[in-house]
Symmetry: C2
Subunit: 115 residues, 2 copies
Amino acid sequence: MTTDQTGAGLPAELVALRRSIDNIDAAVVHLLAERFKCTQQVGRLKAEQGLPPADPAREEAQVTRLRELADAAGLDPVFAEKFLNFVIAEVINHHIQIANPAVARHPGSPSGDAS
Amino acid sequence: MTTDQTGAGLPAELVALRRSIDNIDAAVVHLLAERFKCTQQVGRLKAEQGLPPADPAREEAQVTRLRELADAAGLDPVFAEKFLNFVIAEVINHHIQIANPAVARHPGSPSGDAS
């Protein structure tokens, strides 16, 4: 197997895979930046309209849909659900901070206008 | 504000934002499916070549890069780092399962060929 000078003697195939992983991670980070822009607008809108922050039916629909998409794409549906919960926890954290900047970051809070 | 019939009386703007969130989530799920394909190849390659599963220098470089990308994209760099750690934990979990299918899922394991 050949090695790549930029990969400090690592196999070229490993260096190439790492470049793909880095590209994918960059794409995901930019998509998540867009997602948080959307959820910030959702938070503002719900506050303006007096809508409840949490919507369990919406969250359930999101989980079901993402598990199906993951399954079709060859991704573990359990991981897809964990990922969604991870992101939603951060959204809730943002909303708590927006509502009350004095509150410490608390990603494990139980519910919020994440959807 | 107008409402959208498909959104059960919700403001049309909220329904539109949710559709964008759903599209972004679908894109992220598909990118993560591709990412796990890459890391599975990395795992196989490292095993074939007798390379160590963990590479702390690589992981440090990934964290630094993603934090910078996140900052430039308006995403909290702390969240970007948490996200990377979350994904790497799952990669390690996959590799543990591949290496020893009898081992229970354990996403919190300390290190692995996640990079």
